[in-house]
């Protein structure tokens, strides 16, 4: 659905679920995934419906992902780094008692 307007000049590899994705260093994670044809970023907490980025500017919270083990990260505001591990945000975040920081 989405096509890059500029070629990748400084490539890094990130991992989405079990897939390798080549992305431009420093671009938003959401942009990298959309360019790689990923259309479902998360499922909603109440109805489990599939969701994808809407605003791309940090307002809508539709693009939430688990990034390097951290839940509910906004994919449009996180920048791609080499070796980043990204998973779908499935439903609501679980919070453990020992998460206490």
């Amino acid at each position: 659905m989405f096509k890059r307007t500029q070629p990748v000049t400084d490539p890094v590899t990130i991992y989405f679920e079990d897939r390798d994705i080549v992305a431009q260093r420093g671009e938003p994670v959401a942009a990298a995934l959309l360019a790689a044809g990923v259309h479902v970023f998360r499922t909603s907490p109440l109805s489990n419906s599939p969701r994808a980025p809407l605003c791309m500017i940090g307002n809508c919270f539709e693009c939430l992902l688990e990034i390097d083990g951290e839940s509910n990260r906004q994919a449009c505001r996180a920048r791609v780094q080499d070796g980043m591990r990204v998973r779908k945000q499935q439903g609501v975040r679980a919070l453990e008692e020992n998460d206490e920081g």
Binding site: V92, R93, L95, E100
Partner: protein
């Protein structure tokens, strides 16, 4: 012949409750509302349906809140059946959390004063010590304790507003946004005419209900209604969504059905200022994370400010004009809690043309020092 039996000025929680209740009784009702630029207290609510701690100095207000809490379940069911909108109302009882012994002592003094004042009409509460609190709410931090009141609950105030609007429309009510009323005029043949700033007629009705929040004082004075209010700013933080962990609403933290935590609300006198500010937000976050240390791990998604409609003593003011019978005004800050009463009970007052004597206590003549002194 006027087009409407009643015109309600204001489409917030009060105006929408009256509109819904009046139209449900078959009254031809018009609600005139402003546009998106209005100061909308109804969009900034914390969502508590709260009784605990209310009414010191006016036991009738405590009773009125208690009555609303009792009506709320049926009210929420009715809105759901009529509109399909679930207002997420739950009433598991609420906790007033006390961080330290001083807070606990102050709170207990307040509740026992209320009990003394109210006599048999007082509401139930229990003192909960730190260990019991931890058992009932495993995620609380080390607090001094708290009090529990079984009449307290919470709801989603945005869905409440939406349900009232939907119910009003389904009842045949007429809602007109972007209709900022600037003048209220009584007509020579009875009834009232509502005009915009430019003098355009916005509607005419046999009766008028002024429920325009911070806009009420200017409108009321045109028809002999003396309304005094001031804004009291509250700021709220909302976190990301997480699994359900907190069933009970508390005095400053609650978890919504969506999984978000609401933290707040502050109270500040800053005039008509709707901006949030980091010092206040930091204080809210500090207090709430002391009560629930787990919240430190949550991302804050948004914050906002809203302006409560405060009367001089914080209690509701309800009145009908002596000089212009048929003109009513209602002002209060507890638009969520009292929504059930405003929708189910007050429409009869408006339609019958008189506020029952037992509610005289809510008349703002209580602020008239000269008159009160002369009476003694």
């Amino acid at each position: 012949m006027k087009d409407y039996d009643v015109a309600v000025v204001g489409g917030g929680l009060l105006g929408s409750s009256f509109g819904y209740g009046l139209s449900a009784r078959g009254a031809r009702t018009l609600v005139l509302d402003e546009g998106d630029n209005a100061i909308r207290t109804a969009l900034g609510n914390f969502g508590l349906v709260w009784v605990q701690g209310k009414g010191l100095g006016m036991p009738e207000y405590a009773q009125w809140s208690l009555k609303a809490s009792a009506e709320w379940s049926g009210f929420a069911d009715r809105l759901r059946q009529e509109t399909g909108i679930d207002t997420c109302f739950h009433r598991p009882g609420g906790f007033n959390l006390c961080l330290d012994d001083d807070e606990l002592a102050t709170n207990l003094e307040l509740l026992s004063s209320l009990r003394r004042e109210a006599g048999d009409g007082g509401y139930d509460y229990e003192v909960i010590d730190a260990a019991e609190l931890k058992r009932l709410i495993p995620i609380v931090g080390d607090l001094a304790g708290g009090t529990y009141c079984p009449h307290d609950g919470h709801c989603n105030p945005l869905l409440l507003l939406r349900a009232l609007h939907a119910g009003f429309s389904a009842n045949g009510g007429e809602y007109r946004p972007r209709s900022h009323v600037n003048q209220v005029k009584s007509c020579s043949d009875g009834g009232f005419l509502l005009l915009s700033k430019n003098g355009d007629a916005l509607g005419a009705a046999h009766k008028v209900v002024i429920a325009a929040g911070h806009g009420s004082p200017d409108l009321g004075r045109q028809v002999g209604l003396d309304i005094t209010t001031h804004p009291d700013q509250g700021q709220v933080l909302v976190t990301e969504r997480v699994q359900p962990m907190l069933e009970y609403p508390t005095n400053y933290v609650r978890q919504t059905d969506d999984g978000t935590f609401l933290l707040g609300p502050s109270t500040r006198d800053v005039g008509f200022d709707l901006s949030t500010e980091s010092g206040t937000l930091r204080d809210i976050a500090r207090r709430c994370t002391r009560a629930f240390p787990l919240l430190k791990n949550l991302r804050v998604q948004r914050s906002w400010a809203a302006l409560r409609i405060m009367t001089p003593d914080g209690f509701p003011t309800y009145q009908q004009s002596d000089t212009h019978p048929g003109a009513f005004s209602f002002s209060c800050h507890s638009g969520v809690t009292l929504a059930a009463n405003h929708a189910l009970l007050t429409p009869d007052w408006i339609l019958s043309g008189s506020i029952p004597r037992e509610y005289d206590v809510f008349h703002p003549k209580r602020f008239d020092v000269q008159k009160n002194a002369a009476g003694h």
